[in-house]
Symmetry: C2
Subunit: 339 residues, 2 copies
């Protein structure tokens, strides 16, 4: 039965993550997970002319590294699913325009990595592809220009603000029976989420806006699959930040469910939160992409975790909507990965 | 065999379009296809405070009308696939945030309607949903603000510029064996396209940027399916405009293939091109959505066309990329619809 409960897809044949790679900037390299990042860039421009070009170059590099790690050629990939935070998703379009692979553009804000993994897995399990690429990125400087203030202005950030990760992640999904790497992590369940908008308007407190969406999707996943938090080695949101994590724990506690020590957040994992710059933690499409495609999948391959619920969370607002006084609709997509 | 040739998905069980609806503005209502539009708005603001709010309201209304026509409740829809042209796709997020349906955000610029139809059809044929909604929109005033000049400036438009359609379209896709409406049009093949960038930089000549992408995808579709243009009652791009159509005809002619009288373009169909305002024709995610979800599907149901190749084309640029001197990467996704 591929339709499990109200909103979960149960894959008939779990889809392997045959290879993954991530690249990031200097600050991410200095964080606790720096060792799991394949390529670190000292220069945020990557020697290019604009932050947007640099972001595109990171997507291209992450995809290329993932192909290389898996020993695949581009022609082995049937579809590319990609997105980013920039208006009209130019990070993806320009980053992947030289790939001769059919391209599906996605927009899920910081949930894009989980959206691309989920859709890619369903395309494979549905029989429409043997192998797809899922790629996302973000860039601190490009995001600041896009969503906030010119960097040169040196604006003060409230403590609940998150720091957009400069980085990109790429995963190659493939039919388990054609996967060249036995023992790869596999996607078994996908729970796409509804848009939830609880009326939060503070764009410097996006963890609060997104936590209810995470609660809705993760609760639906538990109900559909008949599971509880303790059935997973790791439940990881991306990215609520540390106060958003507390809100999510509180929402679950109210419903009688305890999120224990196996709960973490990509935004909290990627930076040292004693660094006051980063505020409440990391954010951006690149944050959960880098943490998943580096640290989490590495640790799964190393045997530390066998059963992970990866829950990308996205704030679906723009500067225009914020300036018009609108609240922040949010979404969360959950992907269960087992090894 | 669900993977047909290099990039086409052949559905095992063609997916029915159980219902469709579209809404649009005054100018679209005055065009040749005005009679096929379900609801026309005299006021571009729809009585709301901003063009962005008006665009969101159109998405909501189009989806609601499609549900009503098919006799469906929202709870019968497993996934919503939606996108629009606005930065961070706020037309879709705000338009559909009140729907309690898992939401997958897409970005394909003006190809979004075909991307959502294609992905939705594959999710159903793959067994992951019985019924999904595909919704897209655009708004002339919101797009001008987003991509060009303030309306108040009264900028002159070159003759190759296209006019963004104010409108939204929605289609309800469903498994043919659960479809409440026998004899519905059905999606049988989906050819997702690669990004093609021939170096065109003129954002007032997007037909020229997108025509090579249309050529690439439609050629791949013909090759994968072993078909020729004359095998279709209608091959329709959306939206190249009239000069873009000429370029596409020329590209096919060079390859020895004639696009005959059965070739048309949604941008050319929706407006009276004697209206000098509209320049080369309509554009925007809403253009092909309105033409498909109104006129084309109606005429298929009426028996005029039995075999349509619907080819959404998107220009994947932004104002930032244009201002940085970049060219316009483009994409085209083709969906074959039969009755």
């Amino acid at each position: 039965m591929k339709q499990c409960g109200k909103q979960t897809a149960c894959l008939q044949n779990p889809v392997a993550i045959g290879a993954s790679a991530c690249v990031a900037g200097k600050k991410e390299g200095q964080g606790p997970l720096g060792g799991a990042i394949d390529t670190l860039y000292e220069d945020g421009l990557l020697g290019l002319k604009s932050w947007e070009q640099a972001e595109s170059a990171m997507q291209k590099e992450a995809f290329s590294l993932a192909l290389g790690k898996g020993g695949y050629t581009e022609s082995a990939i049937r579809y590319l699913l990609a997105g980013d935070l920039l208006g009209q998703c130019i990070g993806s379009a320009f980053g992947l325009r030289d790939c001769a692979v059919p391209f599906l553009g996605l927009y899920g804000a910081c949930s894009t990595m989980s959206e691309s993994l989920g859709l890619g897995a369903l395309l494979i399990d549905g029989g429409f592809a043997d192998r797809v690429g899922a790629v996302t990125s973000s860039h601190f400087c490009g995001s600041e220009r896009q969503f906030r203030l010119p960097l040169e202005y040196g604006g003060q950030r409230p403590p609940t603000a998150q720091w957009t990760v400069t980085g990109a992640g790429a995963a190659i999904l493939e039919r388990a029976d054609v996967c060249g790497k036995p023992g790869s992590p596999k996607i078994s369940h996908v729970t796409f989420g509804k848009i939830i908008d609880m009326g939060i308007k503070d764009v410097s407190y996006m963890g609060a806006a997104m936590a209810p969406a995470a609660f809705d999707t993760i609760s639906a996943h538990f109900a559909d699959c008949g599971t509880r938090p303790e059935d997973y080695d790791l439940i990881v949101t991306g990215d609520l930040g540390s106060t958003g994590m507390d809100i999510l724990r509180g929402l679950f506690a109210k419903s009688g469910v305890t999120l224990g020590r196996n709960y973490n957040d990509c935004g909290v994992m990627i930076f040292d939160l004693n660094d006051t710059d980063v505020g409440d933690g990391g954010s951006g499409c690149g944050c959960s992409a880098v943490v998943l495609c580096g640290h989490i999948l590495n640790e799964m391959r190393n045997g530390r975790w066998r059963n992970v619920l990866f829950c990308g969370t996205g704030a679906l607002f723009s500067t225009v909507s914020a300036q018009q006084g609108e609240s922040i609709p949010s979404v969360c997509h959950a992907v269960r990965i087992m090894i």
